[in-house]
């Protein structure tokens, strides 16, 4: 069944902040999967009067597909069993509809269905080892309804670190470009730069951005500079996507600020900032340092962040930052997966639960909200839970309510453990409430712009016809949890809050240019150390053209 060629979404209040439209009642016209300026009067109509019309949601950072995510699924059969997901009943009984299981790390088809059910139509998988890129693509092929890409892990890559050690900045850049294309990736991801390499080599971790990684010629600072510079020089649509050192440690805000200052003046995205905004000292004295961190962001337009909000309830911590997961396992005694990935990165997984009566979890919850509420420019700040690390993407509607509804937020604040909240701006009484327009910025317009996805996150002429239509409700969580209609590329996929169609999404990837000389050197390196043939490493051509057409 194909999408209707034309559709007029009539009479809704349109929130399209990228085009300066703030709740104006107007029609949105769609033709052949794109937004167009006008349609003939007799074009099919979808009556949206009284409803809220926004671009489809864009998730800038989630863990939804690939090797690590699949390890997490396999680790947690009890969570799967507790959340069965039946096959959706689609409009066309011949269209493939798949059952699955949910929990914090749902199966692929269920992931696509649930994202679309929330009105999200674009998702970036945040951490893929290039060695397992082929696996990630296969899972994304089985994740319908969302256009998706992934970030490729480079901050602990052995070949890259060798180039940095030798001062070969140009070759590092060419290597990053080659690797992005070989993996079919969208952007460069840096996780705990140098720290994972130390974990694998036996020195456990780094503690600051000037610690040596193997040799003093390589430090987290140098890795950050090399990859931020490479991303910017290659004019990638999204800058280096950075998970700082010392995630989750008391006192780590100083490391985060050191990292931001190290990259001052460079475009860079700092991810799940909440997990990196704690005061105190390593090992104790937990307190919020959200104010210090967000003040820096507020003063530096070249910086963007996503929050990585903690939501109370079950989560699965899953990250390339393997040394952190070891510490969490050692502290909690929960089951634990570690996979060291040859020459590239690591992987650690520990299931977790954030309890509102637990002091550190309550602090984390508060820090995230502080970052949101103290951020001056919503275009720099993206809504995320670092799914499934801070909580499931299914918690986004609840998070929207916390941002939009001060009375509700204050009510929730009363219930949490206050032991570590002294000094938190939240406790001081933050009055800010996000407007619908600001929510539209932090959930679609902003992330699309930061990702350089020019056809996403807005409803201007030429944009992809990814549209979400909500029924207004007093309770913002209820409103955002069940959009009335969702359109993906012009196809009505959710109608009356029921999933009715499940088309495949597109793959978002880049193919930057590079000096081919680097491949000769990489091939030599493969012959010496790798145990996959150089020729078998690239994923090969993808069905969709690269973003930006390079």
């Amino acid at each position: 069944m194909t999408a209707p060629e034309r559709l007029r979404i009539a009479g809704g209040a349109v929130y399209d902040p990228a085009n300066g439209v703030d709740g104006v009642v107007r029609d949105v016209c769609i033709e052949a999967g794109r937004i167009v300026a006008a349609l003939p009067k007799d074009a099919p109509r979808l009556d949206a009067s009284g409803m809220v019309v926004m671009p489809g949601g864009v998730d800038i950072h989630a863990h939804i597909a690939g090797s690590s995510v699949n390890h997490a699924r396999r680790l947690l059969p009890e969570e799967r069993a507790a959340d069965p997901a039946r096959r959706p009943v689609l409009a066309d009984p011949g269209e493939p509809a798949r059952s699955g299981t949910g929990g914090t790390v749902p199966t692929t088809f269920t992931t696509g269905y649930r994202y679309a059910g929330l009105g999200y139509t674009t998702v970036m998988e945040a951490a893929i080892a290039p060695l397992a890129a082929r696996h990630a693509h296969a899972e994304l092929d089985d994740t319908p309804l969302v256009d998706a890409g992934f970030f490729v892990l480079l901050g602990n890559d052995d070949y890259l670190l060798r180039q940095i050690a030798q001062g070969e900045a140009q070759r590092a850049r060419d290597y990053a470009a080659w690797l992005l294309g070989a993996a079919g990736a969208y952007a460069v991801k840096i996780v705990n730069p140098g720290g994972i390499a130390c974990w694998k080599a036996g020195s456990r971790n780094v503690a600051g951005i000037d610690d040596p990684v193997g040799s003093s010629a390589v430090t987290p600072r140098k890795i950050l500079e090399a990859l931020a510079d490479a991303s910017n020089a290659l004019k990638l649509p999204h800058p280096a996507h950075i998970h700082c050192n010392n995630l989750g440690q008391a006192g780590n805000a100083s490391t985060t600020l050191d990292t931001m200052r190290a990259l001052s003046g460079r475009r860079a995205h700092f991810t799940h900032l909440q997990f990196h905004s704690y005061g105190g000292e390593p090992g104790g004295g937990w307190k919020s340092a959200a104010r210090d961190v967000i003040e820096y962001v507020n003063g530096h337009a070249e910086v963007s962040v996503d929050v990585g909000q903690v939501m109370f309830g079950p989560a699965t911590t899953l990250t390339a930052d393997a040394p952190v997961e070891y510490l969490l396992h050692a502290r909690t005694g929960r089951k634990w997966v570690n996979v060291d990935v040859e020459l590239e990165t690591g992987c650690g997984i520990v299931p977790y639960e954030y309890k509102e009566k637990a002091a550190v979890a309550a602090l984390q919850w508060a820090v995230g909200l502080e970052l949101f509420l103290l951020a001056r420019d919503p275009w720099q700040v993206v809504l995320s839970t670092d799914h499934p690390n801070g909580g499931s993407f299914l918690a986004y509607p609840e998070l929207v309510r916390l941002l939009m509804d001060r009375a509700y937020r204050d009510e929730r604040l009363k219930r949490v453990n206050h032991k570590l909240l002294a000094g938190s701006a939240l406790l001081d009484g933050l009055t800010r409430e996000y407007s619908l327009s600001e929510i539209a910025i932090v959930t679609r317009a902003g992330p699309a712009r930061l990702l350089g996805l020019r056809h996403k996150g807005h409803l201007g002429v030429g944009a992809d016809a990814d549209v979400t239509i909500y029924t207004r409700a007093e309770n913002a969580a209820a409103m955002f949890a069940a959009p009335r209609y969702v359109l993906k590329g012009g196809t009505v996929v959710v109608s009356d809050s029921q999933l009715r169609r499940a088309p495949a999404g597109r793959r978002l990837h880049v193919r930057p240019e590079y000096d081919a000389a680097v491949t000769r050197d990489v091939k030599r390196y493969f012959e010496e150390f790798a145990c996959v043939s150089f020729e078998n490493y690239p994923v090969g051509p993808l069905a969709d053209p690269p973003v930006g057409g390079t």
Binding site: S99, G103, T108, A138, D142, K335, D340, E342, C531
Partner: protein, 409 residues
């Protein structure tokens, strides 16, 4: 053709040079004996049979759709030697049918369940090569069933932290009864099968700085202490059923020991897995259903039945029709026996020569010889498969067509 991936065992060596002359494979360069046997000459039967008669492919697919579509309690079984693309298409059929779904991985359910209870400390094979300095082979010599494991991964090649290759590492063979470690190990420890679990317990205690005080275990305690003091220890064991009798407690103890060693040091447990893209089946089942094996889809969603599985369902006579995708010749014996009593559709290499008589048999090529796609190494690393020979029938195409036929019913 160069850089061909061999699925003769779970090592999935991807450096094979396949020479084809006159439509036959005349050489599989770099392959071990097991790999050369797996490639063979590339000749496979190309029969299509339904109820004892040779039929056109179209008719066989139609008959298969009829048989499976009418089944009350169908089983879909993923046998070895198919691509992950084919595995995905077969799981889609199981989902549509509300079938029970299984793979040979059920034969090692104890090990899977241990990792689901505890997690695991692991590494990809290449990382073991880069880092491993003390490699302990637990009742297994890979030379027998995983011939190039030692030459490609651990222990011979040079690595980033093993500049002299084999000489940079210490190799320990733990012999358990007649199941011996590598002959060229630097040291050996011999255990009677009845001693094995106590030895593992003593080792775990030693890692935690305790001792049993029993001289019987002083050698293994000493080994454990050295593992804890080294830089990167590796424990290699065979996860597939074999001479060493499967033991749920061993599976759990090995996982626990490897995890515990990551306190004082680093350690990875390397679980040897068989060929034919078995690991790929675990992964595909997991990403599509949430569980790696033994799944009941009859309720309309996946339910995990790890203590049952195909052999149990077949033995109970509750299965009235089966779809086997893959090499029927490589089925676990008890599954093959059970299938003999069931109306079965077999789509895969040598289907017409299955060890039981299928109602419908469609011979296809072998993934990695006649069919391109994706397969996974024993450590879950994905690799491309390059077909050196054309297939008379592609398992992927046949399974997809069958799925479409079932969807149209």
């Amino acid at each position: 053709m160069n850089n061909v991936t061999c699925l003769g065992c779970g090592c999935a060596c991807d450096d094979i040079t396949v020479v084809v002359q006159g439509g036959t494979i005349t050489e599989a360069g770099n392959a071990c004996a097991l790999g050369r046997t797996w490639f063979g000459d590339g000749k496979v039967p190309a029969e299509v049979r339904s109820n004892g008669r040779a039929v056109a492919l179209e008719q066989a697919i139609g008959d298969a759709a009829k048989l499976l579509g009418a089944a009350r309690r169908p089983l879909v079984y993923l046998a070895p030697d198919i691509t992950s693309e084919t595995q995905r298409a077969a799981v889609a059929i199981a989902d549509r049918l509300g079938a029970v779904l299984d793979t040979p991985t059920s034969e090692l359910a104890d090990g899977i369940l241990a990792t689901q209870r505890r997690g695991r400390a692991g590494a990809t094979l290449g990382e073991i090569r880069q880092r491993g300095d003390l490699v302990v082979f637990w009742g297994v010599d890979p030379a027998l069933r995983y011939p190039r494991y030692t030459s490609r991964y651990a222990v011979e090649p040079v690595g980033v932290q093993a500049p002299a290759g084999r000489a940079s590492r210490r190799v320990v063979a733990v012999d358990i009864g007649s199941c011996r470690g590598p002959e060229n190990a630097d040291e050996r420890v011999s255990l009677a099968p009845t001693e094995e679990l106590d030895a593992l317990g003593a080792m775990r205690a030693a890692v935690g700085g305790r001792t049993t005080g029993d001289a019987t275990w002083s050698r293994v305690e000493d080994l454990a202490r050295r593992m804890a003091q080294g830089r990167y220890a590796v424990i290699v064991h065979d996860a597939e059923p074999g001479d060493l009798a499967p033991d749920a407690d061993r599976a759990e103890a090995l996982v626990a020991l490897a995890q515990a060693l990551n306190g004082p040091s680093r350690c990875a447990l390397s679980s040897l897995r068989g060929g034919g893209n078995r690991s790929g089946a675990d992964l595909v089942l997991t990403w599509q259903t949430g569980f790696p094996m033994a799944i009941d889809l009859a309720p309309g969603y996946p339910c995990y039945r790890p203590h049952q599985g195909a052999a149990v369902w077949l033995a109970r006579r509750e299965i009235d029709a089966a779809l086997v995708v893959g090499s029927a010749a490589r089925l676990p014996a008890r599954v093959a026996q059970g299938l003999a009593a069931v109306a079965a559709v077999v789509i895969g290499p040598h289907a017409s020569a299955a060890p039981f008589t299928p109602a419908i048999a469609v011979d296809t090529g072998v993934a990695g010889i006649h069919e391109s796609g994706t397969a996974f190494r024993m450590d879950d690393v994905p690799l491309p498969l390059r077909a050196a020979l054309p297939a008379t029938a592609s398992a992927m195409t046949v399974v997809r067509t069958l799925g479409e036929r079932l969807a149209a019913r």
